[in-house]
C-alpha cells in the first residue's frame, strides 16, 4: 500500500520536474528582426570605448555562435547543408550554434556573455553596440571583406562614425507566403493580410514581434499617403496610432502569430495558416514538406534585413570568431548560405558560385535600387529616423507595449 503522504509528495516532485521541463523548452519570443533601412542614419550616440583586435592569435579551439536559423548549418537539418564541419576541421574551433527566433532574443543571448559571435540584424546591432556588448571589428583581419559589395560596407547599422562593428553577411526581404490551393487569385499586395473583410478569416498569420508594426506602417505609407509616413521605423503619434489600428483590425483575422519558424512551416502544412508574412527559408522548408505554398515580394515593397556578424567584447575566443567571419563570407560558403536561406549574398564573388546561375539576379544581390525599396529592420528611437526634428517618434519600448496591446 502506497502511503498517501508519499503520493502527494510524489505529485509535488513530479510537478517540479514538469515545471522545469517546461521552462527549459520554452520557445523564445518576439523580438525585433533584422533592421535598418539602407538609407538613414541611426540615432546619434557615442558607443562605449572599445578597440578592435589588432592581430590574430592561435585558434582557441571553441566558438559559440548566436545565429538566425539557417545561417550556421552543421548538417543536422540536411546532411548536404553543412558549412560548420569543414570550418571545424580547418581551424580546430569546435562550434556550438544557438539559433534565435528574433532580434530581441539575440540581444538577450549576447548579454549573457556566453557567446562569441552573432549574426545581428539592424535592429539588434545598434543596441548591441550602444550597450558595449560587441566591439569594433578590424576588417583587415578578414581578407574576404575586400570582396563584400560596397553597398553593404560602413552602413549606419554596422558602423558608428566610420568605425566598422561587423562583417556584412547578406540581406533580403520579408515575403508574403500563401497557400496556392486556397488563396485565389494569387495575391500581389499586402492588402490580402490587411483587408479586414478578408475571406481568410482565422487562417492568417503574422510575425510575432513588435517590429511587425513596421509592416503595417509600410503598407500605410503606400496606401494612405496623407499620413505622411516616410520611414516605417519613424512613426509619430498619429502615424503610430494608424498602424496600431490597422493591426488591431488584422488581429481579428489572425489564426496565430509565429516567431518559431518550425511552427509556421507546420501551420502552413496542416492548413491552419493560409496566408501571412514569411522568410524565404520558411517557404523553402514548407515546400520541401510538400505544402502547397508560394512566396512573393508584394507590390508595396517589404520590410527586410541586412545582417552583420559581430564579435562579443568579452569573448575569450576572438581568433576563432574572426576565422569564422572570414569563413562564412568566403565566396563559396556565402553562396551556399545565401541559396539555403534565400537571401542576397554579401560577397560579390559568391554570385559566380551559386548552383542557380540566376540566383544573384533573382535576389537582386548588387541591385542597390531594389534594396532602396526594402526597409531593413531598424530600432525605432525617439529621435525620428527620417530626420524630422519637429516631432518625437515612438521608441521601441512604445512599440513593445503596443504590440502586447494589439494581441490583447
Amino acid at each position: 500500500m502506497i502511503s498517501k503522504r508519499l503520493l502527494v509528495l510524489g505529485a509535488a516532485a513530479a510537478l517540479a520536474l514538469t515545471a522545469c521541463g517546461g521552462s527549459s523548452g520554452s520557445t523564445p519570443q518576439a523580438g525585433s528582426g533584422p533592421s535598418g533601412s539602407g538609407n538613414e542614419a541611426a540615432g546619434h550616440f557615442t558607443p562605449p570605448k572599445l578597440s578592435a583586435l589588432t592581430k590574430l592569435g592561435t585558434p582557441e579551439g571553441q566558438l559559440n555562435i548566436v545565429a538566425w536559423a539557417g545561417y550556421a548549418e552543421d548538417g543536422s537539418t540536411d546532411p548536404k547543408v553543412d558549412w560548420v564541419t569543414p570550418f571545424e576541421k580547418q581551424t580546430g574551433c569546435q562550434v556550438n550554434v544557438k539559433t534565435a527566433p528574433t532580434s530581441d532574443d539575440m540581444v538577450n543571448l549576447m548579454k549573457t556573455g556566453q557567446y562569441d559571435v552573432v549574426s545581428a540584424s539592424g535592429d539588434a546591432s545598434l543596441r548591441l553596440i550602444a550597450a558595449g556588448t560587441v566591439e569594433p571589428v578590424n576588417t583587415d583581419l578578414v581578407p574576404n571583406y575586400a570582396d563584400v559589395f560596397s553597398g553593404l560596407k560602413l552602413k549606419p547599422w554596422n558602423s558608428v562614425n566610420g568605425v566598422a562593428y561587423g562583417i556584412p553577411h547578406g540581406r533580403g526581404a520579408n515575403l508574403l507566403m500563401y497557400n496556392t490551393d486556397v488563396v485565389k487569385p494569387a495575391p500581389t499586395s499586402w492588402s490580402v493580410v490587411f483587408d479586414k473583410n478578408s475571406p481568410y478569416h482565422g487562417k492568417m498569420t503574422a510575425y510575432d514581434s513588435p517590429i511587425y508594426i513596421a509592416d503595417a506602417a509600410l503598407y500605410l505609407m503606400k496606401t494612405q499617403p496623407d499620413l505622411g509616413i516616410k520611414n516605417p521605423y519613424a512613426l509619430d503619434d498619429k502615424q503610430f496610432a494608424a498602424a496600431i489600428a490597422l493591426l488591431k483590425e488584422q488581429n481579428a483575422n489572425i489564426g496565430e502569430y509565429w516567431s518559431d519558424y518550425t511552427k509556421e512551416v507546420q501551420a502552413f502544412k496542416n492548413g491552419d495558416s493560409v496566408v501571412g508574412t514569411t522568410w524565404q527559408i520558411i517557404a523553402n522548408l514548407a515546400q520541401a514538406e510538400k505544402a502547397k505554398v508560394n512566396s512573393i515580394l508584394p507590390s508595396e515593397g517589404a520590410t527586410g534585413w541586412s545582417d552583420t556578424w559581430m564579435v562579443a567584447a568579452k569573448s575569450p575566443h576572438k581568433t576563432c570568431a574572426y576565422l569564422w567571419m572570414n569563413h562564412i563570407i568566403s565566396p563559396k560558403v556565402n553562396a551556399e548560405v545565401a541559396e539555403w536561406f534565400g537571401e542576397a549574398p554579401a560577397n560579390s564573388k559568391s554570385c559566380a558560385l551559386t548552383v542557380d546561375k540566376n540566383f544573384c539576379a533573382t535576389f537582386h544581390a548588387d541591385d542597390e535600387s531594389y534594396f532602396d525599396q526594402v526597409w531593413y529592420w531598424n530600432t525605432p528611437i525617439a529621435q525620428c529616423l527620417d530626420g524630422r526634428t519637429n516631432v518625437t517618434c515612438k521608441d521601441y519600448g512604445d512599440w513593445t507595449t503596443a504590440w502586447q496591446e494589439i494581441k490583447g
Binding site: T27, A30, G271
Partner: protein, 286 residues
C-alpha cells in the same frame, strides 16, 4: 567525538540549529531572497535603447500594471483559464479517484496509481506538441469528429484549457485519491444504514470530508495554469496569457523591471487564493 555528542545531547537547541541551518538558508536566501529581489526590481526601469537597467526607484511599472487595460484583460483571461482548468480537473478527477480509493481491488488500485502517474514521465513539450498536431486542421480530432458533422475547437483558448486540463489532471487525482482513501468505509456504511441513498451520502458525508483534498489539488492545477505560457503558445492561437506578457517584457522588450511588476500579479492572485483556501482547512491536507 564522545564529548561532541555529549554537548549535542545536552543542548537540544544546538542540535536543532545545526540540523535546520542549511535548509533554512536555502529557503530564506535562495528562495524568498530571490523573490524579494524580483519584487524590488519592479521599482527600477530600463534604458530603452541600450537595454541596461536604471537603478532609480519609481512606481511607474506597478502603476502601469494596475491601470493598463490590456494587462487587466489578460489577467482576467488568465484567471478564467486557470479556474476552468481547475473545475474540469476536479470534475474528471473525482470519480476516477473515488473508484481508485473505494471500488478497485488493492491490486487494480496499484495499477491505476501507476497509470495516473505514467503521463508525467513524458516531457511537457512532447505532450503539448502532440496536442498541437491532434488539434490541427487535418489532425486526428477533426478526423474523428468529421463523421458526426462536427469540428474540433482548433487553436485557441478552448484548446488551451483542454490541453492544460490534460497536463495537470494527475496533480488533481492524486491528492483527491489520498483524501478519499483516508475516509473510513464505515462512515459510508453508517450513512447507508441510516437510510441515506447514494446521492445523500455523497452530499452529506463524502463531499464535506473530501473537499479539503479537492482544494489541495486545486492549488496545484490553479497555480500551474496561472503561470503557464508555453501551452498557450503552442495551441492557443493568437491568445496571450500573463506568462506571455511577462516573457514578452523579459525577452522581447528586455524590460525586466516591467516583467517583475507583472510577475507580482500572479503572486497576489495566488496569495488571495491561498488565504481563501486556508479557511477550508485544505492546507492541513498537504
Amino acid at each position: 567525538m564522545r564529548r561532541l555528542s555529549g554537548v549535542l545531547h545536552r543542548h537540544t537547541w544546538l542540535r536543532l540549529a545545526l540540523l535546520l541551518v542549511l535548509p533554512l538558508l536555502v529557503l530564506v536566501v535562495v528562495y524568498l531572497g530571490a523573490l524579494a529581489v524580483l519584487l524590488l526590481s519592479a521599482l527600477w526601469s530600463t534604458d530603452v535603447f541600450t537595454g541596461n537597467i536604471v537603478h532609480t526607484a519609481t512606481l511607474d511599472n506597478l502603476r502601469e500594471v494596475v491601470t493598463n487595460a490590456t494587462y487587466r484583460a489578460v489577467t482576467f483571461r488568465t484567471i478564467g483559464v486557470a479556474a476552468a482548468v481547475t473545475v474540469i480537473c476536479a470534475v474528471l478527477a473525482f470519480p476516477m479517484a473515488f473508484y481508485m480509493a473505494k471500488v478497485a481491488s488493492p491490486r487494480a488500485r496499484k495499477v491505476l496509481v501507476v497509470a495516473v502517474l505514467t503521463p508525467l514521465w513524458a516531457s511537457y513539450l512532447v505532450k503539448a506538441y502532440a496536442w498541437r498536431s491532434m488539434l490541427a486542421g487535418d489532425g486526428v480530432v477533426n478526423w474523428a469528429l468529421g463523421p458526426l458533422g462536427l469540428r474540433g475547437p482548433g487553436f485557441g483558448l478552448t484548446a488551451t484549457i483542454v490541453v492544460l486540463s490534460y497536463l495537470w489532471l494527475p496533480f488533481m487525482i492524486l491528492p483527491v485519491y489520498a483524501g478519499l482513501e483516508r475516509l473510513p468505509d464505515s462512515l459510508l456504511e453508517a450513512s447507508g444504514d441510516l437510510g441515506a441513498k447514494a446521492g445523500r451520502t455523497f452530499r452529506s458525508v463524502i463531499a464535506p470530508l473530501a473537499f479539503p483534498a479537492v482544494v489541495a489539488g486545486a492549488i496545484f492545477t490553479f497555480s500551474l495554469s496561472l503561470g503557464d505560457y508555453i501551452t498557450v503558445q503552442i495551441v492557443g492561437g493568437k491568445n496571450q496569457l500573463l506568462g506571455n506578457l511577462i516573457q514578452g517584457d523579459a525577452g522581447a522588450a528586455n524590460n525586466l523591471p516591467l516583467a517583475a511588476a507583472l510577475a507580482a500579479v500572479p503572486i497576489v492572485v495566488m496569495v488571495v487564493f491561498l488565504l481563501a483556501v486556508r479557511r477550508t482547512g485544505a492546507l492541513d491536507n498537504l
